[in-house]
């Protein structure tokens, strides 16, 4: 019970203090939103929307999680308030779960901003929402864990930002969003297969457009492996770097 109170309050504090603060709402939500509108204006008719939607959802998740988590944790560590969490009688895993959950929820919420607007233009009734939601959750989880990994490695807030961009932008271009993976230059293709986002986007593509590289079960499986691997790496580094 005590752990649940602590867990819930850490989560709530992050949501109130970071995720719902105006600059972050604009970065996390207005940004994907304006991107959506821009694409809608650019593409003639409504035919392009279902092709664009998976990409927009993935971008929204990525922008809502990775750097948010990396930056807020680095910020708290720098300002020493993170010590307060390490001093609390809750396990590091509980703490990490609470921190990640905030980013995951925010990422999921962001993913559905473009969907909400697209619904005004196209018919989304044929979509398998349960698989779509699973894909979004897994994308959010892996992106958040990546953010945590960055947070564990960065000392300064600007470092966290740089690292985030370092991962996030290549990921955008290599995950098959704008250029399908099979059209990428052969040297880049292996890299794209090492990115969790590639598999999340593949599921979303298959849901909205029917085009895919791998079957959904395989994609989900790979993303789970990524999540487990990233979690393990974070945990190992946290013990080494947070408690000096």
């Amino acid at each position: 019970m005590k752990t649940i109170i602590a867990f819930w309050n850490i989560l709530r504090k992050d949501i109130e203090n970071y995720y719902l603060k105006p600059p972050n709402i604009s970065w996390g939500m207005i940004f994907p939103l304006s991107w959506t509108l821009m694409q809608l204006i650019r593409s003639p008719g409504n035919t392009g929307i279902s092709e664009l939607l998976p990409g927009l959802m993935a971008v929204s998740v990525l922008f809502g999680t990775t750097s948010m988590l990396a930056v807020t944790i680095t910020f708290e560590r720098k300002g020493r308030s993170f010590d307060r969490l390490l001093l609390a009688p809750i396990s590091i895993n509980t703490l990490v779960f609470a921190k990640i959950l905030g980013a995951v929820l925010f990422g999921i919420l962001n993913a559905f901003v473009p969907v909400f607007f697209a619904a005004f233009f196209i018919d989304l009734s044929g979509i398998d929402w349960s698989i779509t939601v699973i894909a979004v959750i897994l994308t959010a989880v892996t992106s958040a864990l990546l953010g945590l990994l960055i947070a564990v490695s960065a000392r300064e807030v600007f470092e966290a930002q740089t690292f985030s961009n370092f991962f996030r932008f290549p990921m955008l271009f290599l995950c098959g969003l704008f250029i399908p993976v099979d059209k990428l230059p052969a040297v880049l293709r292996p890299i794209s297969f090492c990115l969790p986002l590639t598999y999340g986007t593949d599921i979303l593509n298959s849901m909205f457009t029917g085009n895919f590289m791998f079957n959904t079960i395989f994609n989900i499986f790979v993303m789970l492996i990524f999540a487990a691997l990233l979690f393990y790496l974070c945990q190992r580094n946290i013990k080494r770097k947070w408690i000096l």
Partner: protein
């Protein structure tokens, strides 16, 4: 009863050994102080005891629990006020306290009640609605201390609680520490203010370069200086140039010139005044006050550690952030 016991504690940062195998224990209900200059290893030691840092060697037992293996159990009953304030700058005082209370699993009604009480006790009720970043240094420090005791811990760790803040806040904090002691709390405090240690600690350990060089009650520590006599002379004229001549003429005395118009004579023997006064008189310096100076903890510290007390004091400004 021993509530904290530390054996052979070591902390290395790479090759550098910041804490060199220290041993000490703290009795339940006492105020135990670590007194030492900047870089002595005080913060390193505290951080190992509270779970913010991993020891490179040694053993820490707190209330019968192995603090290295079972730190989360220990953290339930300790409160920590670190050297730097660690609250959330954007949140208001009340929100900060309630959040800290929630980390210990306190329910909403309970934490709001306790937060309100503490704000009142620290004269921060009005400030409780303002964000932490708008607080003065002294207010920040007081709120950080309030956050450290919000869950009513049995043992309190304070890392330089009064460094770099205004005199009045420092006084309130010292009063609070004595209050907590009267409530039966055990308090571990680090400081580089000698007078502070002398005023509030039951026992003091002098720590220098990661080693405890001396430990004991204030009275025990003072015994070290027994047999040393000190006389302070004051005059209207400058006595700066007299140091050499006085030491040459009175070979069993040590002479210090604390300021231009005074002169401190230190000796193992009782000091006879008239030869001193005659010598000074013959040089045209008339002494109008001669006073015996009782030894202070400062003298003990200087004698044992070889560190000039002024060096400790100079750090006052530097450490205040």
């Amino acid at each position: 009863m021993e509530i904290i016991s530390v054996t052979n504690l070591i902390k290395k940062y790479g090759e550098f050994q910041a804490v060199n195998g220290i041993n000490f224990s703290v009795e339940q209900g006492e105020v135990f102080g670590f007194l030492g200059p900047n870089g002595a290893g005080k913060t390193s030691t505290i951080n190992m005891m509270v779970g913010l840092s991993r020891p490179s060697g040694g053993r820490i037992m707190i209330d019968g629990i192995d603090a290295i293996k079972d730190i989360k159990k220990v953290q339930r009953m300790i409160g920590v006020v670190p050297d730097e304030n660690n609250l959330y700058y954007e949140m208001d005082g009340f929100g900060n306290l309630c959040f800290c209370a929630s980390l210990y699993g306190m329910h909403k009604a309970e934490r709001e009640k306790r937060a309100g009480e503490l704000l009142e006790q620290f004269n921060l009720t009005e400030a409780g609605k303002r964000p932490f970043k708008a607080y003065s240094k002294g207010m920040k420090r007081k709120l950080t201390i309030a956050a450290g005791i919000i869950h009513n811990p049995k043992i309190l760790f304070l890392d330089e609680p009064t460094t770099g803040i205004d005199v009045e806040s420092a006084r309130q904090i010292r009063e609070l520490i004595l209050d907590l002691k009267n409530q039966g709390k055990t308090i571990f405090i680090t400081t580089h203010y000698i007078e502070e240690a002398e005023r509030i600690c039951d026992r003091i350990a002098f720590i220098v370069n990661g080693r405890i060089v001396k430990m004991g009650t204030v009275t025990e520590l003072m015994e070290n200086l027994e047999g040393e006599h000190k006389i302070k002379l004051r005059s209207d004229c400058s006595m700066k140039d007299m140091k050499g001549e006085l030491e040459n003429s009175f070979t069993d005395c040590r002479v210090e010139i604390p300021d231009d118009n005074s002169c401190l004579i230190v000796s193992k023997e009782r000091i006879a005044l008239s030869p001193l006064l005659q010598l000074l008189d013959s040089r045209g310096i008339s002494v109008y006050e001669a006073k015996e100076v009782k030894p202070s903890l400062e003298d003990v510290f200087v004698k044992i550690t070889g560190i000039e007390a002024s060096k400790l004091k100079n750090e006052k400004g530097k450490a205040g952030k």
